[in-house]
């Protein structure tokens, strides 16, 4: 679906996932080098690293695929 100008709804979703993914990934990487004093359960799985990475990749793909001007619905 196209909206007011040239932005697809999926572009907004991609941008949201990309920004959130990068922030979570960054926080996870920081924790790798500066482990917190009080840790969550299963901290050793470093979920914020891989989950943040997955979100960022999916978000990036959506941003590129549905970038303004590409005419995709």
């Amino acid at each position: 679906m196209k909206t007011g100008g040239s932005l697809s709804i999926w572009f907004f979703i991609g941008a949201s996932l990309l920004v959130n993914g990068l922030l979570i990934f960054g926080a996870g990487v920081y924790e790798l080098f500066h482990p917190p004093e009080e840790q969550v359960v299963l901290h050793g799985l470093h979920a914020n690293v891989w989950w943040g990475g997955i979100l960022a990749v999916i978000g990036g793909v959506y941003c590129i695929y549905f970038a303004p001007g590409k005419g995709r619905l």
Binding site: I9, V41, A47, N48
Partner: protein, 567 residues
Amino acid sequence: MTLLFASADASRLVRLSTVDLVIIVFYFALVLAIGFYLKERSNTGEDFFMAGREMTAWIAGLSFLSANLGSLELMGWAGAAYQYGILAAHWYWIGAIPAMLFLALVMMPFYYISKTHSVPGYLKLRFGEGSRALSSISFALMTVLMSGINMYSMALVLKIILGWNINFSIWVSSLTVAIYVSLGGLRSAIFNEVLQFILIWAGALLIPILGLADAGGWGALKTRIATNASAEYTHLWSTLGRFDDNPMGIHWTGIVFGLGAIISFGYWTTDFLVVQRVLSAKDLRAAKMAPIIGAGFKMMVPFIVILPGLLALAVLPMKLTGEAQAIATGGHSYNEVLPLMLARYCGPGLLGLGITALIAGFMSGMAGNVSAFTTVWTYDIYRALIKRDGSDQHYVSMGRWSTIIGVIISVGTAYLVMDFKSIMDYVQALFSFFIAPLFGTVILGMLWKRATPAGGFLGLLAGTLSSIGMWAWVKVDSSALRYVALSAHARDMAENMYRALWSWVVCVLVTIAVSMLTKPKPDSELKGLVYGVTDIPSESYVTVFHRPWFWASVVAVLFLMVNVVFW
């Protein structure tokens, strides 16, 4: 982040890091930006109230589901799963899937071909002004109450998790919704609902994944639940033979006929909150596909809602209780299951995304109620009963103002429901007051051309009054439960199921009886409204894989499979 499980600081469960706060602020900025961005596309009534009727099946389908994913879905059903076990999944499977498929294949053609703006609008075309007035006023009342419940739930969770002031949470969230819905209308609500749907999954999906790893897999989870609670908590159907054999105190007839046949059909096929999203579809095939897409995703929602509740039974170190006991003892209530699980597994960043998922759920539910209220108020109450000759611009302006006023009324409602003992039971009671009888009226209107305007109106009125009457009867005399719910052992949820069933039966019987005694409309006035006198467009021009019935069959088979697997 600092975990404070069972710690001295009972007023706050977790402390957000800077990155968590950035994620939450980014979310609020994005939804507001979308509202401002779409303002230029909401200048006509068709744009503001119906999103221009140009949504694809995917957008309409995800929005259809997201509008239902309010606070009650995320918080309430996770708590219900902790309290009642996997029985809570009935509200996602038999309590949703058949009705959604029925809406798509049977009812959608009449809603769509009639070009109605709303469900009360359909009743006006089929039964006349009386039925529309009754259903629109009851719907408007229900939506503002639901919206208020959403707000209260969100404020409560933010207070529990973050220690935020409850008034601050209510006003910030409600003003945000008021701004983006009043600016961009239904298009903005739908657009944000799709975004919120994705964020809900992104933020909530990790809990069951990490929870299963923590519990040692599904088999180990069942063993631990059997130890901590009861083995009955992991069975969907096998414990429903007797009222006192299962944690919910319900019989299978209540689930099948009360929930599966009446409440769910009433909600998913006649509640304008969800039907409005499908009416915005670009064509009839998209309108039929949207509920089927929604049903496919609905079947997966228990993974992020019910499973965390079950996992909490196995892995949380503390015992959760009802709201009143939790307040009295300083413990945690059932409704805190998701926040507790978030705090258990989510570190910096993930916690912010999880909180954003909860807020997104609350806001999508709230926006859904507000946008539906605005349409029904403007078209079915204001234009029908107060000012019939206004311009299109006048009604758009009324739509924007009624959005803001609806939010303010909802805020007042939020303060009212603060003292109510159980959010879920309250909502179920509301459903049975209005939704179950409405389903009786709409389904007879669509499938039985002999139904008359007098029959439709009096049936709806009798069904609604009988439901309220049964509710009041049990409140005044608790021994009446054995008549209303067929058992003195029935719990609140079971009582709601049966009350809905009886009110639907009353509605249908009165509609049929009155219709047989009054003059029906001629066929020429029923075209596009009733089965048998409406030409349904053929779908032979598309391949089998593009036909709604094919995908409905796929979803139906999957639905049967999950019920057998978790029997």
